[in-house]
């Protein structure tokens, strides 16, 4: 089971119907993401990157093609089966955070854990741990609206991780953040990734994409480039004292 790629797609196609005019959003994106990979999906707006990641999480139904999640065929699942799959194995982070406004930060984070079947006590422990790690322990009882954008996205990240998903899908997680908060969120994603989390992140921000191991560029619903980001030319630096020789 562990040999199966976390995500594998075979020629998935998504065509939206705009009135009578079919609008293809994704046109056969063959993709394979192994466990522990951090993949950035890039492309200009309208290139189908959000649609792709929505399909991978079952939020959107593919028109044709196959989607395999952890070795299991997923594109044929019903909406409810997808929901079960999500609550057990997929976490989502969105551009607009999408925290439940009526619930406290704590409840927001505990919700997916409870959904996945954790007892309230386990969910609370998990939440305390995550919020503590993200530096938000003090805001647990606040409503999300009282948090700054960056804090909200960190809560959203905690929520996405609350049920320990095997796949974290992030749709423009930094799209609505300023530079500083972008840096914080990206650092968190990198750290989560270093611990082995498989991440697929949609972004149009190159700086965000550079945190990934691998960048997939989409254009008009098709892959135009799929390659690992090359390692630093001179190997890892041992400390910051080294001189950076930035070309240009």
């Amino acid at each position: 089971m562990s040999e199966d790629p976390v995500v594998k797609t075979v020629n998935p196609v998504k065509i939206y119907q705009n009135g009578d005019v079919p609008v293809p959003a994704v046109r056969g994106v063959d993709l394979q993401v192994e466990a522990g990979e951090f993949v950035a999906v890039m492309g200009p707006s309208g290139s189908g990157k959000s649609t792709l990641v929505h399909m991978l999480g079952g939020l959107d139904q593919r028109t044709s093609g196959e989607i395999w999640i952890s070795g299991k065929r997923a594109d044929t699942l019903s909406e409810s089966k997808w929901a079960l799959l999500r609550r057990r194995g997929v976490g989502f982070v969105f551009q607009f955070f999408n925290l439940i406004g009526n619930m406290t930060v704590a409840d927001n984070v505990e919700l997916p854990a409870l959904l996945a079947g954790a007892s309230p006590r386990e969910a609370r422990q998990r939440r305390e741990f995550l919020l503590g790690e993200l530096g938000l322990a003090a805001r647990a009882d606040d409503p999300p609206a009282r948090l700054a954008g960056g804090e909200q996205q960190r809560v959203a990240l905690a929520r996405a991780l609350a049920h320990e998903p095997s796949l974290l899908l992030a749709d423009e997680p930094t799209g609505n953040l300023d530079t500083r908060n972008t840096r914080d969120v990206l650092r968190l994603l990198s750290q989560v990734h270093k611990k082995g989390q498989t991440i697929i992140m949609v972004t149009h921000d190159h700086r965000a994409a550079s945190c990934a191991d691998r960048v997939i560029s989409l254009l008009d619903g098709q892959i135009v480039d799929d390659a690992p980001i090359p390692a630093a030319r001179r190997g890892p630096r041992r400390n910051a004292g080294d001189v950076i020789e930035l070309r240009g």
């Binding site: 890039m42 200009p44 530079t179 840096r183 990206l186 650092r187 990198s190 921000d205 190159h206 700086r207 994409a209 550079s210 945190c211 960048v215 560029s217 254009l219 135009v224 480039d225 390659a227 980001i229 090359p230 390692a231 630093a232 030319r233 890892p236 630096r237 400390n239 910051a240 004292g241 001189v243 950076i244 020789e245 930035l246 070309r247 240009g248």
Partner: protein, 193 residues
């Protein structure tokens, strides 16, 4: 070369590869143009003007002949005299195997730093014309390279003490430049492929 020292981080803001000298700037376009078809000096000047237009200052004919001479001396091109009825003979240049290899090496090599436009732009414009490289591949290669640089900067930023504000500002600046170039590359991809 301007070097800024800030704490323990040193960032070279100037390039340490061969600067784009006048000669350098003409040499490769000439090679590329010759890869397409043999031509004499004046034709090359016209082709340069046609290709780059206002985007690139066209060298005068004297510079072109000097450069051609040097290229010939380096064995990258060779000249054949063609007789003309009413005028003196003119020299028609063509690319040697060595010249072609040099051109391919240039096209394949990623360019450093943010000030890529001059040279990368040339590659981008010239590559498909000569058939030596695919534009998409060029852009992909350049994008990956820049992303690698960006990653390096990230790493540097993470491993740099947060107290070192100037260093961080420097890194930030470099990143923003890189980002602009990456955005421009994406734009190129949208427009040209």
């Amino acid at each position: 070369m301007h070097v800024i020292h800030s704490g323990n981080v040193t960032v070279n803001t100037q390039c340490d590869y061969a600067p784009v000298t006048e000669e350098m700037g003409v040499r490769l376009p000439l090679l590329a143009l010759l890869a397409k078809e043999p031509a004499h000096g004046y034709e090359l000047k016209q082709a340069l003007e046609q290709t780059f237009g206002a985007a690139y200052p066209s060298p005068n004919i004297g510079q072109i002949y000097v450069t051609l001479g040097r290229l010939e001396k380096d064995g990258l091109i060779r000249a054949v005299a063609v007789e003309q009825s009413s005028r003196p003979n003119k020299k028609v240049y063509f690319l040697t195997q060595q010249g072609r290899e040099a051109l391919i090496a240039w096209a394949d090599g990623p360019l450093e730093g943010p000030r890529l436009r001059d040279e990368f732009f040339m590659k981008l414009v010239l590559a498909p014309m000569t058939g030596i490289a695919d534009r998409g591949a060029l852009i992909n290669r350049q994008t990956r390279h820049f992303l690698g640089l960006m990653r390096e900067l990230h790493h540097l930023s993470e491993t740099t003490s947060p107290d070192d504000r100037y260093a961080h500002l420097l890194i930030e600046g470099a990143m923003l430049h890189l980002q602009a170039d990456l955005d421009w590359l994406e734009r190129c991809r949208e427009e040209l492929t």
